[in-house]
Symmetry: C2
Subunit: 354 residues, 2 copies
DNA sequence: GCGAGACGATAAATCGGTTTACAGCGGAAG
DNA sequence: CTTCCGCTGTAAACCGATTTATCGTCTCGC
């Protein structure tokens, strides 16, 4: 409050006095507990309106062991993926009457562990953690030690202590294999430009397994690194430098958004026609991929579904309605077939799920 | 807490008992107040370590009028700009010993006003609002009514009640005019694809004023709309359809990131060479703009500077070290001259500031 | 008419800290 | 020797809600 207008906020006692009842009665009315005479309830509501009373959510939770707060820790708020995730989490939490506290670990595991501890300081009812590395990283360890309610999201697979929610990377990559191999490609380049997280590894495995199953003769090259952009660019360039056309892939499956961008730029610079000479399918969709020309065929992660599922699973744990062992949830991705993938006119379709 | 391990968290009273002093003394030690004998301070710190005590930030603030919390309300967490902004705000707030509570208004003004009120419920020390529309929108009105400490960022210009912090859109656009007109362009298309916010209008005005000042004969076309993508695409296409080459612009200044993408895609589809036939400069930089080919000349907004400034200005108000009228802060942008702008070999340079 | 039970309301305890008012103590000044 | 002051430390009040224990009242059944 900025000094000038010096009227204190109304407290529950002010409301009680104004309505001629006790604070306990006001509390009951406000939280919808029965056992209040209709007449008194009305007077309380009148007083609330007249005084413009609003409950202090902090004081409200003070006496309870847990507060109606859900913590969220994500590695990076700049990325549209986590931005969308947080937005979804916020909606779902709000719908359930919880406030969200968001913090970014900025891809640092020690910071992640700190933030988890800070969430515990706030006596959050539960925490949703998108780990920097994996389900067994520092943050998850800390949560285990602090015996917190939590759900691991995105960069996490099955865990023996916490529920997990993630995109079905494996199935989605199988879907990409179906598309490319089904389209006649027998030589594919898998390109990964980010740190090799569990998610990226799973994508690689899914594609390889399915492609090999479809046709054992399929040839798969891989180009993985998390070097600087220039180095990676050179690597891609070198790959496509090969004189014999049959020595290089006819399709690229890029395993992350960043990777898609890099490959695309390099193909353009070399004036390789997409998809005629080389088809391109990317993991992780982005708005610009519909807008470029050619538009980019990509796997869209079900970020809203992940967010909603994560909150629901967490709330179930908090309320104790689920018991027993933790569950691994996989949400189906959607493959948006656009121009760069080759075979056009194919509708978007769901791939995988669990 | 998940039930099994049933040891309550240590409270300040536990620490006091363990150290053989009173809770008040522990409180003093913890908050670095002097007037505690060195011997006692040591014993308190020992007890804190032994018990693993951590303060409850909620209970801590309960007695004070304000709590060490800063609220942030942004229109959209999915956008990298606001994601980066929030990350910066979080860092700065944390460095000052505050916790941040972030909420997304999802481009809705009524929701914005709701969130502001909710921040006030939390007794935040101050709020940083990136308004959906402008400095006179519903959120700012509510903050005024609630007499809150606040700073408006990004989509806001001078306000008679709150300090504001934003990128220096005007000066940056002047810089773009310098670049393009200086490069010989005498016919420029200004393209805006998003809702016409105050920021976009300012960019337009800055460019027009400077370009006209440099050479009164400069011709400026404008294409502004917030229609659906397809409609906009058609509009751009139509613009470049003109048969006479001298009837169309030789350079495009796109006023938002989305707009840059749209224009770029359309130029590509029509196989118009960038920058040879048409130069392109965009407002708002993105990672992909360095990676595409040609790379995109763009104005980078000083998001970290904005965040840091916003927090510092807010803290100054909270602590009452600034008085008098609110101040409008403009942070200088950086123009990254890359390939699409034409004249290469020019280093990035700061444009504007205040 | 009386005890039991249901119902509504409230005073008081509680949560975990901070702040205030005051007390004890030792040294310096008068 | 007394007084006064500054320095430490503590008990108690306080913040704004929830929850508990208690109490009065009314009704019902016997």
């Amino acid at each position: 409050m900025s000094g000038i207008s010096d009227q204190r906020r109304a407290t529950i006692h002010d409301v009680a006095r104004c309505a001629g009842v006790s604070a306990a009665t006001v509390s009951k009315v406000l939280r919808g507990v029965s056992s209040v005479r209709a007449e008194n309830a009305r007077r309380v509501r009148d007083a609330v309106d007249r005084l413009g009373y609003r409950m202090d959510p902090l004081a409200s939770g003070l006496r309870n062991e847990q507060r109606r707060i859900i913590g969220a820790v994500v590695p990076d708020l700049k990325s549209p993926f986590f931005g969308a995730l947080v937005t979804g989490l916020e909606s779902a939490a709000e719908a359930a009457g919880y406030t969200m506290i968001v913090a970014s670990s900025r891809e640092s595991e020690t910071r992640e562990a700190d933030l988890v501890a800070r969430m515990s300081d706030w006596r959050v009812a539960g925490t949703i953690l998108a780990p920097v590395r994996s389900e067994s990283g520092l943050g998850a360890q800390r949560m285990r030690a602090l015996d917190m309610h939590a759900v691991l999201v995105d960069r996490a697979s099955a865990n023996d202590r916490f529920d997990t929610v993630a995109a079905d990377n494996y199935a989605a990559s199988c879907g990409v294999a179906d598309l490319l191999v089904g389209d006649g490609h027998r030589h594919v380049l898998l390109h990964g430009a980010t740190r090799i997280s569990k998610a990226v590894r799973t994508r690689l495995e899914g594609f390889t397994a399915r492609a090999t199953a479809l046709d054992p003769r399929v040839r798969i090259d891989t180009l993985l690194s998390d070097d600087a952009v220039d180095v990676q660019r050179l690597a891609i360039s070198a790959y496509f430098d090969t004189p014999k056309a049959d020595a290089r892939a006819t399709a690229v499956f890029s395993l992350s958004q960043h990777s898609t961008l890099l490959v695309l730029a390099e193909l353009r610079r070399r004036a390789i026609r997409v998809p005629d000479e080389v088809a391109l399918v990317g993991f992780d969709d982005a708005e610009w991929m519909q807008t470029t020309w050619p538009s980019i065929t990509a796997v869209a992660q079900p970020v809203d579904a992940i967010a909603e599922r994560a909150v629901h699973v967490l709330l179930a744990r908090i309320e104790g309605t689920t018991g027993g062992y933790p569950v691994q949830h996989l949400e189906p991705c959607v493959l948006h077939a656009r121009q760069s993938g080759g075979s056009a006119d194919e509708p978007s379709r769901h791939v995988g799920g669990g």
